[in-house]
Structures are given as C-alpha cells and as structure tokens.
Amino acid sequence: MKISRVVEVLDAKVLAGEGGLDQEVRSACGSDMMSDVLAYVKDQGLLLSGLMNPQVVRTAMMMDMHCIVFVRGKQPSEEILRLAEAADIAVLSTELTMYMSCGRLYEAGLGK
C-alpha cells in the first residue's frame, strides 16, 4: 500500500516527509512500547504510535520504516518532525484511536 493511500484510509494529516508518500509499505505495527517494536518487528514499514518523543523516530530509523502515524490526534513536536524529515520518514497524524487505525488499515488490505 502506498503511504498516500494510508493518508486516505486514516483521514490523516501529513506533517512531514511529503516527498515520500509514493513509497510502499507492506505491513504495519501499532505500539506505544518502543522496546517491543525493536524486539518483534520484522518487515513492517509503518509504525502507529500514541507515544510522543524523538525515540519513536529513532526506533523507526533503526527498523528501516518509511512512515510513522501518530494516533488519537496527537501533535508531535518540531524536534520530532525535524528528525523524521532528515531521515526521509513520512509523519502522519490521525484523530482515530489505535484500534480504529489498525482496523481500517487491515480492512483496506495492509498486511493481510
């Protein structure tokens, strides 16, 4: 699924990495616990999280992810956006909850 399609499915705003919306992601991971992301994620290019700190971006960088979605309408800081922009990671924000976001993406075929 292209990241631009993720934007549609989640009715999301694009906060950083506008240039990378053409990239494909094959699956996703939803977690507020970065330790678990580092432990269990294999080839998920998309991270959904409600956690707001720069380590979310670093975790995504370590895992070679292309996109972070902040759920529950959270607004990341400038620092988070700067880090993501520098790492070519698209940052989206959706008003949906984690559960609804994951459900919609799965229903739309992501990671099925």
Binding site: S35, A39, N53, P54, R58, M61, M62
Partner: protein, 151 residues
C-alpha cells in the same frame, strides 16, 4: 563521531575504529551514536539485514547506558569479516546478569516506561541480534558489554 584510526578506504587490513561519547544527561538524544553507525555501515555497503541487526542492538545498548548508567563510551570496530561494538559505562553495574538477561525483567523507573522503554527487552534483544554478547559487570564500578556481528 571521530575516526580513531585512518584507512585508505580499502576494506581492510586494520579494523576501522570509531569512538562515540554517549551523553547520559538527555534521554531525547539517546541513540544518536547508533544513527551515525548505521550511516557509516551503509557507506561501507554492509548488507541491509546485518546493518539493521547491528544498529538495533547498539541502540538498545545506548538506551540502557542512558537509563541506568548516566551515559558512557561506545567503540565500534569494523573488520573485514565482523563488526565489534563495545559499550562501557561507570554505572551501578548489574548485580544479577542472568536475571537481567531474561525477557520482561526490567529495573527501569516508571518515567522511562512512559517514554516507551523499560519493557525488559533491551539485553535480550542485544543477544538476539548479535552473534556473541559478553557482559563484564562489577557492582558499583560499571559495565562493559561487547557484541560481535559476523558478516
């Protein structure tokens, strides 16, 4: 980052050595050394899957040093057939290494958990992603962790 030894770019009779100071004052900057190492390995054309293993393990180590030991030093040695990462701190040491290695065991404070870490996966992840992991720890003195990754 500063290269501690020079190379003519050819891979490589002497291992390349890079040294990093891991700042313990600021949790938000934890992981910067791992990001640098990841870039470096990309430039050296190391296989992406191996880069991912190395950078995740080093990142976990860096986070641990910041959480538990107020920072320390990281040394990265890149040889022809392996990468060695040595993380050294003057922190409180690990009283029970076996316990610390078990998944889910964590002594991280609640404020760290609120930041998304402290699930007790750090050391187990470092072991999982490296080919060998050695912990040399003395309570009250500090800890040195050495990880080797073979190409």
């Amino acid at each position: 980052m500063r290269p501690a030894s020079e190379s003519d770019g050819a891979l490589m009779s002497e291992p390349l050595h890079f040294h990093f100071d891991v700042n313990g004052d600021d949790f938000t900057s934890a992981g910067e050394a791992s990001v640098q190492v990841k870039k470096l390995l990309r430039q050296l054309d190391v296989a992406p899957e191996l880069i991912r293993r190395i950078s995740i393990a080093m990142y976990e180590g860096e986070i641990n040093m910041v959480i538990h030991a107020h920072g320390g030093d990281a040394d990265v040695f890149i040889a022809e057939d392996e990468v060695t990462i040595r993380l050294r701190d003057d922190g409180p040491g690990i009283p029970d290494v076996e316990k610390a290695m078990s998944e889910g065991y964590s002594t991280a404070p609640d404020n760290i958990r609120a930041l998304g870490f402290g699930a007790g996966m750090g050391l187990p992840n470092m072991k999982r992603y490296s080919d060998s992991l050695t912990i040399d720890s003395l309570v009250g003195k500090g800890t040195t962790i050495t990880m080797v990754f073979r190409f």
